[in-house]
């Protein structure tokens, strides 16, 4: 905890509330908290809420929310099938879901760049089978391209914890529901779904954390101002040197928002644990 969270977080605060080197125009950390200058935070919050970064901030939430929902819609049936119906194919199917991790995320996105290019194979195929009459420019600032890219990149992270949660549901509970007259749909809605709630939450939290900080997916699949996310702004400021404090402050604000999500998740998990003990 000290090594992996407290130290980097303290360094982040030291940069956000540090000083600007007058020669190198770079953000310099101030390690003594007594000398911290928190003036950057009202400035950053002003930019996020009603300022020049408001649009990108809202867009990030819309992208993350939509991508998470799509991940769940795709991931839940897959995880359910794996846990309940895959049988002897389960190992193979799990291996296939994990397989994309063997390839670097950036490489996979660059592959999609080529596939979705105007002269790429996806276009050639769709034109060949008459789904499209002509190639479309999918990589020039379309929200749906970036969101689908995010879904593609993160859906396996949701499937695995969800699968683990569904796999742990005692089959005798499901059989009891059926014995008491519940049909498959009612059993799913009133037994399976509530019992998998923690898995859903765990999966959603796991993908939301990196989704909020993602910046390379919009870069690689769009490059347009229309599709930039807050992670792009953090990357821009931190790599600019002079904007390092702003980048660090944006990161802290984003962390605070994500911490609220985490708090809700922990609250739910603790509540579920209490219920199971009673």
């Amino acid at each position: 905890m000290l090594l992996f969270f407290v130290t980097p977080f303290y360094a982040l605060l030291s940069v956000a509330m540090g000083r600007l080197d007058p020669v190198f125009s770079s953000a310099e950390p101030v390690w003594n908290p007594i000398r911290w200058n928190p003036a950057i935070f009202p400035e950053v919050l002003g930019e996020l809420f009603g300022g020049r970064l408001t649009a990108i901030f809202i867009r990030t939430f819309v992208y993350v929310g939509t991508a998470s929902m799509l991940c769940l819609l795709i991931g839940y049936p897959v995880a359910y099938y794996l846990a309940r119906h895959a049988g002897r194919w389960r190992g193979l199917l799990l291996g296939l879901i994990v397989a994309p991790f063997w390839i670097n995320y950036l490489m996979r996105m660059m592959a999609w760049q080529n596939l979705l290019a105007v002269d790429g194979y996806v276009h050639r195929f769709l034109v060949f089978v008459n789904v499209l009459d002509a190639p479309r420019a999918w990589l020039v600032g379309h929200h749906e391209t970036v969101i689908l890219g995010l879904v593609y990149g993160y859906v396996p992270f949701l499937i695995l914890p969800l699968y683990a949660a569904l796999d742990q549901i005692d089959s005798s509970v499901l059989e009891a529901a059926r014995d008491l007259g519940a049909g498959p749909v009612r059993t799913f809605l009133h037994v399976t779904l509530p019992l998998s709630k923690q898995g859903v939450l765990a999966g959603v939290v796991i993908i939301m954390l990196p989704l909020f900080g993602d910046y390379y997916t919009p870069n690689l699949l769009s490059g347009s101002p229309r599709t930039r996310m807050i992670g792009n702004e953090i990357d821009l400021f931190i790599n600019s040197g002079v904007g390092g404090a702003t980048g660090a402050a944006l990161t802290v604000v984003l962390m605070a928002l994500i911490a609220m999500l985490m708090a809700y998740y922990l609250f739910t998990v603790m509540g579920a644990a209490r219920e199971s003990q009673q």
């Binding site: 600007l20 020669v23 990108i56 101002p225 002079v242």
Partner: protein, 421 residues
């Protein structure tokens, strides 16, 4: 130096101290003029004064007792020569020729952007022998004592350099730097996809605001360059401005591009994306246009590439950036004698020309004739307009280092443009 009527006032020397402060340092900011006829400066103490030279107000950077140049007549170290530069920005056969002549190996370390380069130089973890600072990085590198003074006894080929850059305004006496290449920022396009008549436009930069280029036009993902286009497009040629009103006008103008042409900001748009038809029109570094030849697919014709630099237009009063990249030796270089010999080697005409054929930016040497670049096959006829000459420095504008308070305002404008709001 001869100045062009289109030059902004600060280049023509028509400014008083207050105006110069406003432009280079920012009115009300922590800038101050250095004395003795120097350019603008900003710093916290005498020892770390950042001197920013302009053509009318050249600066001579100080020498420090604890950072002297190396002695003359020293033997060459055994190497390897540690080069710190942008990726693929020295032609490897030229490096191998140096290696063969002096019997040493070389190692090449790259950086992604200038800020990363400065960070690595400051950590002292990386000990490099040669670094290539662009014009706007030189003042801070010297003030921060990241560079060591050059010993000209090892650099007889400095005599080959353009007269205006032998003792340049940004480093009088070439105390810390020697010029490497020169380049411009203009407009590139594929003639087989679009046909903009830039010569006829009163402001060629306005081509980016033409909706017929929707989805096929791009700009650099570089705040100094692209805000510069916004400034040119709004009628100011002061590309180092600290004036919030001018920056705001440029911001609003650039934001129009999002809906008007669905602009995309990339760093490889010219050399990599135009050849594969990802863009038809792009804001372009002259060297990128030359390098694009290598990126055209086999079934495409590279001769469709065109390049235009607005200051050369008869119809236009719009400006355009022109800049210098330099050689320098980091203060903690392990092989400073070898580094001096390398700089001297690169200033030899044959080696400089060979390197030019690869990187696309010409060497500022009086011993090469830009008019023969095409006839000698260094670049194809369709790209003759990419050649930067000594005269271009009298009609273009040079990007200078901004004071931190001004730079952060530029960054905010850029963040706003990039986020679309």
């Amino acid at each position: 130096m001869v100045f062009h009527p289109r030059d902004p006032a600060w280049r023509r020397g028509a400014l008083n101290r207050r105006e110069l402060l406003r432009i280079v340092g920012g009115a009300g900011l922590s800038a101050s003029l250095a004395g003795c006829g120097a350019g603008a400066s900003f710093a916290t103490d005498d020892r770390r004064r950042v001197l920013v030279g302009t053509p009318e107000n050249p600066v001579q950077h100080p020498l420090f007792d604890d950072n002297p140049p190396i002695d003359s007549g020293l033997d060459i170290e055994s190497g390897p020569l540690q080069i710190f530069n942008w990726a693929e920005y020295v032609h490897i056969p030229v490096l191998n020729a140096f290696s063969e002549r002096y019997g040493v190996d070389w190692e090449y370390t790259t950086f992604y952007n200038n800020e990363e380069a400065i960070r690595k130089l400051r950590t002292k973890a990386g000990r490099f022998d040669v670094y290539f600072p662009p014009l706007e990085q030189i003042p801070k590198c010297i003030a921060g004592q990241l560079l060591q003074p050059l010993n000209h006894a090892y650099l007889p080929n400095l005599a080959n350099v353009w007269p205006s850059l032998v003792s340049p305004f940004y480093d009088q006496g070439a105390r810390y730097t020697a010029p490497y290449t020169v380049y411009q920022t203009g407009i590139a396009w594929r003639e087989d996809m679009v046909s903009p008549d830039l010569e006829a436009m009163t402001n060629p930069w306005h081509v980016f605001w033409d909706p017929q280029y929707h989805g096929i036009a791009g700009m650099y993902d570089d705040f100094k360059e692209t805000i510069g286009v916004g400034l040119y497009a709004t009628g100011t040629n002061d590309i180092n401005t600290a004036d919030p009103a001018r920056l705001e006008k440029a911001r609003r103008k650039l934001l129009e591009l999002i809906d008007l042409i669905n602009v995309r900001f990339t760093i490889d748009g010219v050399y990599a994306k135009i050849p594969e038809r990802g863009f038809a029109l792009h804001h372009a570094w002259s060297g990128d246009v030359v390098q694009s030849r290598a990126y055209f697919p086999r079934d495409e014709d590279p001769s469709v590439m065109r390049y235009f630099w607005p200051p050369r237009s008869e119809q236009s009063s719009a400006g355009g950036m022109v800049a210098v990249e330099t050689f320098a030796i980091p203060r903690n270089a392990e092989h400073p004698v070898l580094a001096h010999h390398f700089i001297n080697f690169m200033l030899e005409t044959a080696n400089a020309l060979s390197n030019f054929g690869w990187i696309g930016n010409p060497p500022p040497l009086r011993t090469v004739n830009p008019e023969t670049f095409v006839s000698e096959g260094h670049i194809p006829p369709n790209l003759a307009s990419t050649i930067t000459t000594e005269d271009d420095f009298s009609i273009g504008q040079l990007p200078l280092q901004l004071p931190p308070e001004v730079e952060i305002e530029w960054m905010k404008v850029w963040a706003s443009v990039q986020s679309g709001g």
